[in-house]
Amino acid sequence: MSDFRDIVDTEGLDPEEEARLRRVHELLVRAGPPPDLPPSLERTPEAAEAEIVQFPLLPKRRWAAAALIAAALALIAFGGGYLLGDSHGGTSSFAVERIVPMHGSGDSQGFIKISSRDSVGNWPMELEVSGLPKQAQRQAYYELWLTRGHKPVELCGAFRVHGDSTKVRFSVPYDLRGIDGWVVTAQPEGTREPGPVVMTT
């Protein structure tokens, strides 16, 4: 490592300014070089999200199929929502490629961790939300939807919440072209259509 005077031209500097730059020099020496960011971290979450929506994937599922999945997942949610939702589960086996933040009314916040596409074309993802109210109706639940034109078009899955924070994993095969975000909707008992949006990206 070179000396301060080997690196910094001090000609014309008053003693006070030279001392100030010398202090910076010492900090640079102590800090050492910053690491090179790996490619996976060079994109911000915002930029990563924009990229996701351009990925060509499988053909879009139709609304009826989504509704069928919704019904099936709702059944699971009724009987086993606590199995799906996990406020304490680890994430060690989930390789996160991107994170998309979500926000909602009140204190509700969340994010979607997206893993890489698997060999058959599914996108594993994990939704973690906090601040969503626990629904009083036993057959009410929340749904995560992909949006197009800011309207829910593809269902990712259903879940119930418990505790302060809930994690739910999904895997979806949808074509993400034209998709512009995600929303969480509240689904009252007996509702098949997307309910009111309570969180959005």
């Binding site: 100030r20 900090l27 102590r30 910053p34 911000t44 994010f111």
Partner: protein
């Protein structure tokens, strides 16, 4: 320049551009801290993701009257990195609790904080200034060799180096006693 604290407060309201600015400023310092403590690039990458998820999730807990944003971000990063270490049932990395006041080896604590602040400040330099700093400090090149490497006059290297240090002095300001 918008302060870190202001960006955290805006992120707390769902402002994603503020969150993106925080990411741009701190991705490298967080990665450096994680790499230093976890010793593995893959795990450090995961820790960066976790850190920024935590920042987004907990930004509303930041209180500007309790201090500037950088120490708060440092604490969030530290917690995320420790959590990452614990998640693998390994011995938690020894990370200082907060800047300058934590128990434990004081040299290590200060080293982590200094690197955090300096690497954060480097992100604000124009590319041409950051380039000469990197070459002058961490490549082992002399000023003349830097000039030759970049194909610019020696005087330009000196000017850029001094300008970079002056800019860093302003960025680091009172927090580093400059």
């Amino acid at each position: 320049m918008t302060s870190d604290g202001e960006l955290i407060q805006r992120a707390a309201t769902g402002d994603r551009s503020a969150f993106e600015d925080l990411y741009r400023r701190y991705a490298r310092p967080v990665f450096g801290l994680a790499l230093r403590r976890l010793g593995d690039r893959g795990r450090a990458e995961d820790a960066v993701q976790e850190t920024f998820a935590s920042i987004w999730r907990s930004a509303s807990s930041y209180r500007p009257d309790r201090g500037p944003g950088a120490p708060w971000l440092y604490a969030v990063a530290r917690n995320a990195i420790v959590d990452r270490a614990r998640a693998r049932t390994e011995i938690p990395a020894d990370i200082p609790d907060e800047a300058g006041t934590e128990p434990g080896p004081p040299e290590q604590a200060e080293q982590g904080w200094v690197a955090w602040r300096v690497h954060r400040a480097l992100e604000e330099l124009p590319e041409r200034e950051r380039e000469v700093i990197a070459l002058a400090y961490w490549s082992g090149l002399s000023q003349s060799e830097v000039a030759e490497f970049l194909g610019i006059p020696l005087g330009t290297v000196k000017t850029r180096t001094r300008a970079a240090l002056q800019r860093l002095a302003e960025l680091l300001g009172d927090e580093e006693g400059i």
